[in-house]
């Protein structure tokens, strides 16, 4: 694959993640909403690979940092430094890990596991850490309100990511060969 094409595909995934961030379900007891953003993270890792996937998430975070309302209608440094900002940083790592685990493996189960680890577990590590730091909760309390309510959503998103990625991968393989 040539360079300009990768460049544009990365740009595309930044836009996809931004679009997915508008799917959001606020939870009354927590400052962190359930969002579609990590579906973008999973898809970027699965379809672009580790490096390009991580770059796409990095650019997403940078663009949001400049104040564009890409975090589900919000944006700016304040969101990134706020209670839910750690999850955004986690998305960069998450796409990379998803890409690493799923590299060169076609099976649906392994793709599903890579999504759960990369798109969920890895995202939580900096996410919970920052939630605890900003709000002054202890790590255990932050994990209780910052991880548990989101697990059903993660499973739904992983299923959707694998379903879509499997279809798109076959299609892209045909294109790249032709």
């Amino acid at each position: 694959m040539n360079d300009v094409r990768t460049l544009l595909r990365i740009g595309l995934f930044v836009a996809v993640t931004a679009g997915l961030s508008f799917i959001r379900v606020p939870l009354p007891f927590s400052p962190v909403p359930v969002t579609g953003q990590t579906l973008g993270t999973m898809l970027a890792g699965l379809l672009l690979g580790a490096r390009a996937g991580a770059v796409s998430q990095l650019i997403y975070v940078l663009l949001g940092f400049t104040g564009l309302p890409l975090f589900g209608g919000l944006g700016g440094a304040a969101i990134l430094l706020g209670p839910a900002g750690g999850y955004l940083i986690g998305m960069i790592l998450g796409a990379w890990v998803t890409g690493i685990i799923s590299r060169g493996r076609e099976g649906v189960p392994i793709m599903f596991i890579s999504c759960l680890i990369g798109g969920a577990l890895i995202v939580y590590i900096p996410g919970v850490w920052q939630l605890a730091r900003v709000t002054g909760m202890d790590i255990r309390g932050a994990a209780a309100i910052g991880v548990l309510p989101y697990i059903p959503g993660d499973i739904v998103k992983s299923v959707a990511a694998v379903g879509a990625a499997a279809k798109i991968r076959t299609h892209l393989d045909l294109r790249d060969r032709g």
Binding site: R5, L8, G11, L63, G67, L68, A77, A78, I168
Partner: protein, 262 residues
């Protein structure tokens, strides 16, 4: 709403703040954020609030726009206030059931919320007065010196611009696919939340396939026009540092110094 995202919050204008070089504004905002986090004491916050007010006045930014920026973080602010009031150890001023509101806590809550409010107002002024394209241009220049360390400054800025260009395209594409599927009997509007979420999944496949096609077409078009990255590129719009930028820089250095000193 999604379509207007690429303009972001930018309000076109002719004020002196609008005409400043984006690099000046980016560096100024970053400096402001850093100072805001190292500040101690109420006098410093007063100086910082003064800077924000001065920029808002000079930029003729409507107060309404500044307040609108605060609305989405209102819950976060309330959350920090309550949490800080009851979690900070100190002398108890007021008993709220099992929780103690402490004097230290009230001070802490006030500082935290003022800090967040100033942070959001000021960072949103950057995007209120600067078009996103100018911002990405500015970021590219500012990252330029790091190119020797392997940071692909031009490529990063290029990808940012492309992402902004793709957002409206994706929205159009999504609408088109949804209409096509609705014409064939798909139902996106009724049923439980889960049902509606499930009905979105068949959209992802076609959406991505057509989006990839567009991205690859654009790549081909760029290559056909000999796009080869940042090396030796000339620009239609050249960023220029002028006298007002020096004044703005001098003003910020002095006021930041004052905020730290008082």
């Amino acid at each position: 709403m999604l379509k207007s995202i690429t303009i972001g919050q930018y309000i076109p204008g002719e004020s002196i703040i609008h005409r400043l070089d984006p690099r000046t504004k980016i560096l100024g905002t970053l400096g402001y954020v850093v100072i805001l986090f190292v500040l101690r004491g109420p006098a410093g916050y007063a100086v910082m609030a003064g800077i924000t007010a001065a920029v808002a006045l000079l930029g003729r930014i409507p107060v309404r726009m500044l307040l609108r920026g605060l609305r989405p973080v209102l819950i976060i602010i309330l959350f920090t206030i309550v949490l800080n009031m009851v979690m900070t150890p100190g002398e108890t001023v007021y008993q709220l059931g099992p929780l103690d509101v402490t004097d230290e806590g009230i001070v802490q809550a006030a500082t935290m919320s003022i800090r967040v409010i100033l942070l959001i107002m000021t960072t949103s002024m950057l995007t209120l007065t600067t078009a996103p394209i100018d911002l990405t241009d500015g970021i590219e220049y500012l990252l330029g010196p790091f190119r020797r360390l392997g940071v692909p400054a031009h490529e990063l800025a290029m990808m940012m611009t492309i992402a902004l260009r793709f957002i409206p395209t994706l929205v159009d594409e999504l609408e088109r696919i949804m209409k096509a599927q609705m014409a064939r009997g798909a139902d996106f509007d009724t049923g439980s939340f889960l049902d509606r979420a499930k009905s979105m999944i068949p959209l992802l496949g076609p959406l991505f396939i057509s989006a990839f096609r567009r991205a690859d077409d654009l790549a081909l078009a760029m290559e056909a026009r000999c796009y080869r990255g940042g090396e030796g590129r000339t620009r239609y719009k050249v960023l220029k540092v002028s006298t007002p930028d020096f004044w703005a820089g001098a003003f910020l250095v002095c006021t930041f110094g004052a905020a730290l000193w008082v």
